[in-house]
């Protein structure tokens, strides 16, 4: 019973985080803020949803599979966000704050 409500709570929290991530992706001003909105919430939200499913499932095999997926997402999600942000930086995109302050963007590194 406790497990059931715990899993429902995890599902709800995960869905809410996904929703905030989507909102942030649509509303945030520049690519770095958007990566932040999606990347951070996505990792946590999918982890929460997977944990919820883990609590719901009873057989051992699906649980092990879910654990593997969770592990894979823990590796791949943050790495993808990092690669995206790094690609944007190397492509010469600068955060909006420095652009608004009228600074000249530094020459893109690592070209």
């Amino acid at each position: 019973m406790v497990l059931h409500w715990l899993s429902e709570a995890c599902l709800l929290a995960g869905s809410f985080l996904l929703l905030t991530g989507a909102l942030g992706f649509l509303r945030f001003p520049d690519i770095y803020a958007r990566i932040h909105a999606c990347g951070v919430t996505e990792t946590l939200a999918t982890s929460l949803i997977l944990v919820a499913l883990l609590l719901k499932s009873e057989a051992a095999l699906p649980q092990v599979k879910l654990l593997f997926i969770l592990l894979f997402l823990m590796f791949s999600g943050p790495t993808a966000s990092h690669a995206l942000a790094k690609a944007a930086w190397q492509g010469g995109v600068r955060p909006r704050a420095t652009r608004d302050a009228g600074e000249r963007p530094a020459s893109p590194a690592g070209r």
Binding site: F75, T79, A83, K86, Q90, R111
Partner: protein
């Protein structure tokens, strides 16, 4: 519940298709193509065609957008605006084709109906007797690798021919089979991605082998394993550069393996011919018919996997060689 998932997936597919038409930047449209592939893969999963979904996720969402991106890196990223746009005739053509296709679907039996012609002819025999005749749980593999092994040989030959065609079209003059050198060219290093991929790539290759050898019991088989294995190698090539991946698997070796896979498949069939039986009759391989089927299916699936992986890696090499030549 499944209906809701179907509606959500289909409306996302439609939205992706429409934005694919509207978008002008080539990189954006390639990313949309990739999303389309991923959505199709999810759709195949909801339709219980997990075997197809594997391939679609690896090729449709992974490898083919990558090849397109490499092409765009060679030719420039903005579509040229046509000077005068003749929209009437193409629109008419597309509309007529679309209407004809929709009219064509009206005659089709409802989805999943038991008296559809496709389920009347040989399908009942496959579904009911493959357990005794072939002795493996995955009916898709039985049909593909045993009942219809001749057709599958044709498919493998098509893939092999496609690989040869790409080599012929994209071969760089005077550099046949040579491993490119990266003297003096410093690639931008990305420590995080490199470390994480180093951890993950072995598991990708392991998963490909699992899909290869577990194809009789669960979703999978040679085609799926081949594309997953090739994706792992291509990922390595992307992150560490063409010279590194060419040192791991030299291009001549891949090309030879592509031919060897087809050869393994065809020789399994020829073995039956030598014994005076029909081509690809597996019963020569062992005295017990079910064991013979098992051996035959394992052999030809291995051939399929080797050929598919090698051909995809070869195509990647061909594109990547052009790209590094252009950046020189």
């Amino acid at each position: 519940m499944e209906l809701l998932v179907d509606i959500a997936l289909l409306s996302m597919l439609v939205a992706t298709a429409v934005s694919l038409i509207l978008v002008r930047g080539l990189v954006a449209s390639i990313m949309l193509t990739s999303i389309y592939g991923l959505l199709s893969a999810s759709f195949f999963v909801t339709m219980d065609a997990v075997d197809v979904a594997f391939t679609e996720a690896a090729v449709g969402a992974g490898v083919s957008p990558l090849l397109l991106l490499m092409t765009v890196a060679l030719v420039g990223r903005v579509e040229q605006q046509p000077r005068k746009r003749h929209i009437a005739f193409p629109l008419l053509l597309v509309t007529v084709t679309g209407v004809l296709l929709i009219v064509g679907t009206l005659d089709m039996p409802p989805f999943g109906s038991a008296d559809a012609p496709a389920l009347q002819h040989v399908a009942p025999r496959y579904l009911q007797q493959s357990g005794e005749e072939i002795g493996i749980p995955n009916v898709v593999t039985s049909v593909l690798a045993s009942y219809r092994a001749y057709d599958t040989l044709g498919e493998v030959l098509v893939i092999f021919t496609a690989g040869i065609a790409v080599i012929l079209v994209l071969m760089l003059p005077g550099r046949r089979g040579s491993v490119p050198d990266d003297a003096g060219r410093q690639r931008p290093r990305n420590v995080v991605v490199n470390v994480v991929s180093k951890i993950l790539i072995p598991f990708m290759l392991l998963f490909a082998l699992y899909v290869q050898f577990h194809g009789e019991y669960g979703p999978g088989g040679g085609f799926q394993a081949g594309v997953i294995f090739a994706s792992g190698i291509i990922l390595y090539g992307l992150l560490y550069g063409l010279p590194s991946v060419c040192r791991v698997i030299p291009p001549p070796v891949v090309e030879a393996l592509a031919a060897l896979g087809v050869l393994l498949y065809a020789l399994t069939g020829v073995l039956a011919l030598l014994d005076g039986r029909p081509f690809l009759d597996y019963s020569v391989l062992a005295t017990d018919p079910v064991t013979a089927q098992y051996l035959g299916i394992t052999a030809i699936e291995l051939g399929v996997g080797v050929t598919v992986a090698s051909v995809i890696i070869t195509i990647f090499y061909a594109f990547a060689a052009h790209l590094s030549e252009a950046q020189r």
